[in-house]
C-alpha cells in the first residue's frame, strides 16, 4: 500500500471503527460535565489497567488560520511545550516523564490536541500542567526562533521529500478555491519562514480558552472525582469571547480539474478527489453512511473491489484504494487512488477506477458485500475498545467537530440499515466528473547526478 493511501486511510480507519454495535459486555457509561467557564469534561471509565489517558482538545486548527500565517496552529502546538511562568521551557515533558508518563500533541485541520498517558494516581499532575498552559503560556522570541526551525525540518521530512505527500498537498490546494482546507496543516514553507512569535501569541490569545476546549479522560477513574479535580485546576480560568468563525464556504465546483505534480520518484500515481457531503446531522442524514459503506466495499478488505479487480485479476496496479473522510468541519471528499505496475499507465489505472464506480452506479452492490462491510464494522467496534488512547481520541475528535461522542452507537444502527440502492444512489449522485479533481504524480529522475549508491567499500572486506 502506498503512503498516500495510507495517509488517507488514517481518516478511513476512524470511520470504520465508528461503525458497529456493542457486542457482549457493554462498555461503561460515559459521564459528562461542564464547568461555569464553559470547559467541558468527558470521562469514560475503563478499569482494565490502573492507567488514565488525559487529552485536552481545543476547537481550533489550521481551518482557523489566515492567509500569510498558515501553519500557525501547529507551530503554537509546539510552543505549548516551551514554558509558563511556573514551568520553565522543557520542564513540562520532564515532569510527565518523571511521573512515568508519555506526552505529546497533535494538530489537525479542525482541532489541536494535547495528551498524557499516566498512572491513574498522576491525573492531578496532568490537570495542573494543562490548566497552567491553557492560561499562562510564555511565548519567548528565543524559544520561538529555535522551534520554528524544528517545524521547518518537520515540513521537509513529512512533505517536501515525500512524493505522495506533495501530491496530496497540491491536490487539496487545487480541489478547493476558497475553503481553508486547501492549505496544509503544517503550513506553506514561505509562511513558516515569515511567521513571528507575535503571530503565535495572537492565535493563542484568541483561541485558547476553557470555553473552546474539551478535556477527555479515559481510564481507571471515577467521573465525579475527575470533575472535582477539573474544577480545582481549570475552574479559575476565565472564559473568553471567541472570534467569529466565518463559514468560508467553498463555491460549487463547475467542472473537472486536473493537475500534474512532477517530483523525483519511481512510480506514477493517480489520486482522485470527489466533493461529497460530510456527516452533519447524524439522525437525519443518510448519505454519509452510504458513502462509508461504499468505501468499505471498494477497498475495506483484500478481496474488496479495487484490490480485487485492479491489482489481482486486472494486474494493472501495484495498489488501489478508496477513502472517505466523512467527519470534519469543512467540505468532504471521497478519494480514489491507484499506482500502475511497470508498463501500465496512470491513464489505464484511472480508467480502471472509473470502471469500478460505473459498475456500482449501473448494477449496485451485492448483499454479500454489504453484509461483509457491516460485519467488519461490528468487529472493529469491539477491537477499538482495546486501546484507551484510541477511545479518548475518538471522543475528542467527534466532539470538537460538533458531533456527539455517542455517535458510534447510532452509527451502527444507521450502517446496518444501508441498502444496495443507497450505495448506488450516492455513487451516482456524487462520483461524477463535475465534482472531481484528478492529480497525477509524474515521476522525475533524481537531479544533480545523484544515483543509487554503489555497494559500500566497508561491505567488501570478506568478498
Amino acid at each position: 500500500m502506498n503512503p498516500a493511501i495510507r495517509f488517507l486511510q488514517a481518516a478511513l480507519t476512524v470511520c470504520l471503527l465508528l461503525a458497529g454495535h456493542a457486542a457482549a459486555a457493554a462498555p461503561q457509561a460515559v459521564a459528562e460535565h461542564e464547568l461555569a467557564n464553559g470547559l467541558r469534561i468527558i470521562v469514560k471509565p475503563d478499569r482494565r489497567a490502573p492507567v488514565a489517558v488525559t487529552m485536552v482538545w481545543y476547537r481550533v486548527g489550521s481551518v482557523d488560520e489566515q492567509n500569510g500565517t498558515t501553519g500557525v496552529a501547529h507551530v503554537l502546538e509546539h510552543m505549548m511545550f516551551k514554558g509558563t511562568k511556573a514551568v520553565p521551557p522543557g520542564e513540562f515533558s520532564k515532569l510527565i516523564a518523571a511521573a512515568g508518563g508519555r506526552d505529546n500533541a497533535f494538530t489537525s485541520r479542525d482541532y489541536t490536541g494535547y495528551f498524557q498517558t499516566l498512572h491513574k494516581s498522576e491525573l492531578p499532575l496532568s490537570f495542573r500542567l494543562e490548566a497552567d498552559r491553557m492560561a499562562n503560556l510564555v511565548l519567548s522570541p528565543g524559544e520561538f526562533a529555535k522551534e520554528i526551525k524544528v517545524v521547518m525540518e518537520e515540513r521537509r521530512w513529512r512533505t517536501d521529500d515525500r512524493p505522495q505527500s506533495v501530491l496530496y498537498e497540491r491536490l487539496m490546494a487545487a480541489a478547493l478555491a476558497a475553503h481553508p482546507y486547501r492549505n496544509p496543516v503544517i503550513g506553506w514553507m514561505s509562511d513558516l519562514e515569515n511567521l513571528t512569535v507575535e503571530d503565535t501569541r495572537t492565535f493563542y490569545e484568541q483561541w485558547y480558552a476553557p470555553n473552546n476546549a474539551i478535556v477527555v479522560v479515559v481510564g481507571d477513574v471515577v467521573p465525579a472525582e475527575v470533575f472535582a479535580l477539573a474544577e480545582r485546576h481549570f475552574g479559575g480560568i476565565a472564559r473568553k469571547a471567541l472570534p467569529p468563525r466565518k463559514p468560508q464556504d467553498e463555491p460549487p465546483q463547475l467542472g473537472i480539474r486536473h493537475l500534474t505534480v512532477k517530483v523525483p520518484a519511481e512510480l506514477p500515481q493517480v489520486l482522485m478527489a470527489y466533493r461529497v457531503p460530510k456527516l452533519r446531522n447524524p439522525d437525519e442524514d443518510w448519505e454519509p453512511y452510504a458513502l462509508d459503506m461504499l468505501e468499505s466495499i471498494l477497498s475495506g478488505n483484500d478481496a474488496a473491489r479495487l484490490p480485487q479487480t485492479l491489482v489481482k485479476t486486472g494486474r494493472m496496479a501495484v495498489s488501489a484504494g478508496a477513502s472517505y473522510d466523512g467527519i470534519g468541519r469543512g467540505p468532504g471528499f471521497f478519494f480514489l487512488s491507484g499506482t500502475p505496475v511497470g508498463g501500465r499507465s496512470v491513464g489505464e489505472v484511472e480508467q480502471g477506477l472509473r470502471r469500478e464506480i460505473r459498475r456500482i452506479v449501473d448494477e449496485g452492490v451485492t448483499a454479500d458485500e454489504l453484509g461483509r462491510a457491516k460485519a467488519q464494522a461490528i468487529a472493529s467496534q469491539v477491537y477499538q475498545r482495546d486501546s484507551m488512547f484510541f477511545q479518548a481520541r475518538m471522543i475528542g475528535w467527534l466532539e470538537t467537530v460538533g458531533l456527539p461522542h455517542r455517535l458510534p452507537d447510532l452509527f451502527v444502527e444507521k450502517l446496518q440499515n444501508v441498502t444496495s440502492e443507497q450505495v448506488q444512489a450516492v455513487a451516482r449522485k456524487y462520483l461524477v466528473d463535475d465534482q472531481l479533481t484528478v492529480a497525477y504524480l509524474d515521476p522525475q529522475p533524481l537531479e544533480g547526478g545523484a544515483r543509487k549508491p554503489a555497494p559500500p567499500a566497508g561491505a567488501r572486506h570478506g568478498d
Binding site: 529555535k146 517536501d160 523525483p264 499506482t339 468487529a379 559500500p456
Partner: protein, 451 residues
C-alpha cells in the same frame, strides 16, 4: 511548584512499585506449555473484551535468507494467505472479512509469523481459527500469484530505492553487518526477488515453518482448555523439523570507523550512526535499556533530543536505540536535518555520544529515567495487544516467564557505574559506521580505530 511535585513523585513511584508487584501477579498469570505438535504455547486469559489475539511465529525472518535468494523469507510469509488448502486468495480474504477477523503478523530479521485478531464467540472464532490453520498447514504458493507479487514487490523496491531514508538504512545495515545475514534487506532486492521461484518458497516453508520451532501466543477471551485446542489445531499439520534449529552466524565487530556520504537531491540529509550492539540474551540488556533512555531513547527528555532539537533546532526527530536480536542487533543513532546543517548535526551527535561514553549519566538523570520506566510500567501492559506482544517476545526469545514481574526490579537495579561500564563494553566510538544520504557529492572516509 516543581519541588512539591518531585517530593510527591518519589512517593508515588515507590507506591507504584509496590502496587505493580502485586498487580503483575494478579493480572498476568502467563501459562506456558508444549503442544503435542511440539509447538511452544504462551497464554493469558482475559475476559474483559469479547475478542481474541492469536499469533504463530517461527524463526523464519529475513536473516534466514541467502544472499542469492534474498527476499524468499518475506515472500514465503506474504504468500501464505494468498492461496491454501484449495482456497483461492480472494476466498480467504472474504471469509476472514465475513467474520470481522483481521489477519496481520510480524516480519523482521529474526521472526516471521501471522497474527489473527477475532471476535471470541465460538462461531466467528471457529471460522477464523480454522482458516488460519489451513493457511499455516497447506499454503499453495500459486505460481501466478507469485509472479504478480514479484512484479509488485519489485515496483515497491524501485520506488523505495530512490528515497533517502531507504538509501541510508540500506547502506547502514550493509556496512554494519557486512557478510552477516542481518545485512540483507528484509524484502529482498530487485535482482534477487526477480529470481524467486515457487520451489524456493516451498523449500523455505518446509525448512522453517516447522511445528517444534513454532511459538503460539494466545491472549483473550478463551479458557485454558480452548487455548490448548486452538494451539494444537494451528500447529498439528505443520511440517516436522529435524529437531535442529538453524543457528544464525555470529556478528563480527567493526575494525574501524567508516563514514559514507552519498549525493542525493533531497532537502534533508538523513543520518545514521551505529555499530553492532547486543543480543537479546545479553546480561547487560536492562542496563543498556535504561542507559539508552537517557542518551536518546526518552523522547523529549533525552540528551540527544536536548542537544539537537531543543538547544539548536536542528531536527524534528533525533534518537538512539539498541535493537537486541537473536544474534547481535544494531545500536543506532539517527536524525534528519536540512542538508547544509549535516556537518554541524554530525558533530553534535558525536560529541554527545563521546561525552556520554566518557562520563556516563548523572545520578539525577538515572533517577529520572527509573521514575519514567518504572512509573510507566502499567502502560506497557494496559491492553490485550501489548500483553499479546509480550507473550510473543517472551516465547520466541526464551525469556523467563517472570519477565514482566521482574521488569521493575531489573530496572531498579541499574546503577550509574553499571551504565558507564556496559556502554564501554558495547559501544566503541572508534568503531562506528556513519552514513549520510543527502549531499552534493559522494565521499568515503575510513578512520582506523585509535586503539
Amino acid at each position: 511548584m516543581a519541588t512539591e511535585m518531585r517530593t510527591g513523585l518519589a512517593r508515588i513511584a515507590a507506591a507504584a512499585l509496590l502496587c505493580l508487584a502485586q498487580q503483575a501477579f494478579a493480572i498476568l498469570p502467563i501459562e506456558q506449555w508444549q503442544s503435542p505438535s511440539g509447538a511452544k504455547v504462551l497464554f493469558v486469559a482475559n475476559r474483559d473484551l469479547p475478542m481474541l489475539d492469536v499469533s504463530v511465529d517461527f524463526p523464519a525472518g529475513s536473516a534466514y535468507d541467502t544472499r542469492e535468494k534474498s527476499g524468499a523469507a518475506a515472500m514465503t510469509r506474504g504468500l501464505l494467505r494468498l492461496g491454501a488448502d484449495g482456497l483461492a486468495e480472494d476466498e480467504i480474504a472474504r471469509r476472514f472479512a465475513d467474520v470481522g477477523a483481521v489477519l496481520g503478523g510480524r516480519f523482521d530479521p529474526d521472526r516471521a509469523g501471522l497474527h489473527l485478531r477475532t471476535l471470541s464467540d465460538p462461531q466467528r472464532r471457529g471460522t477464523a481459527i480454522d482458516l488460519l490453520s489451513r493457511i499455516l498447514r497447506a499454503p499453495e504458493f500459486p505460481a501466478e500469484v507469485l509472479e504478480r507479487e514479484k512484479v509488485r514487490q519489485i515496483g515497491a523496491l524501485k520506488e523505495a530505492d530512490l528515497k533517502p531514508d531507504t538509501q541510508v538504512a540500506r547502506l547502514f545495515y550493509q556496512m554494519v553487518f557486512r557478510e552477516h545475514p542481518y545485512a540483507l534487506r528484509s524484502s529482498g532486492d530487485v535482482a534477487t526477488v526477480g529470481r524467486l521461484t515457487r520451489g524456493d518458497l516451498q523449500a523455505f516453508y518446509r525448512r522453517h515453518y516447522v511445528a517444534d520451532r513454532a511459538v503460539v501466543a494466545i491472549m483473550g477471551d478463551v479458557s485454558r482448555q480452548e487455548a490448548e485446542a486452538i494451539a494444537e489445531q494451528l500447529t498439528a499439520g505443520l511440517p516436522r523439523g529435524d529437531g535442529q534449529a538453524t543457528p544464525l552466524p555470529q556478528v563480527e565487530s567493526l575494525s574501524q570507523s567508516v563514514t559514507r556520504v552519498v549525493a542525493h537531491p533531497a532537502t534533508q540529509s538523513h543520518i545514521l550512526i551505529g555499530a553492532p550492539g547486543i543480543r537479546r540474551d545479553d546480561p547487560d540488556y536492562f542496563t543498556l535499556f535504561v542507559g539508552n533512555y537517557i542518551l536518546g531513547g526518552g523522547g523529549f527528555v533525552s540528551r540527544i533530543t536536548e542537544e539537537v532539537r531543543q538547544k539548536r533546532g536542528l531536527a524534528y526527530s533525533a534518537y538512539s536505540y539498541f535493537s537486541p536480536q537473536q544474534a547481535t542487533g544494531p545500536f543506532i543513532i539517527g536524525m534528519q536535518t536540512r542538508r547544509d546543517q549535516a556537518e554541524e548535526a554530525l558533530s553534535v551527535l558525536r560529541a554527545t555520544l563521546r561525552e556520554y561514553l566518557e562520563k556516563g549519566p548523572t545520578g539525577e538523570e538515572l533517577r529520572a529515567a527509573k521514575q519514567n520506566i518504572i512509573g510507566g510500567f502499567p502502560m506497557r501492559i494496559d491492553s490485550n495487544r501489548k500483553i499479546h506482544d509480550y507473550l510473543g517476545l517472551i516465547g520466541f526469545y526464551g525469556l523467563p516467564l517472570g519477565y514482566l514481574e521482574d521488569f521493575v526490579g531489573n530496572i531498579d537495579k541499574v546503577t550509574v557505574d553499571g551504565i558507564r561500564s556496559a556502554f564501554a563494553r558495547h559501544v566503541d566510538p572508534d568503531r562506528m559506521v556513519t552514513v549520510v544520504v543527502g549531499a552534493d557529492s559522494d565521499r568515503t572516509v575510513m578512520s582506523p580505530a585509535a586503539r
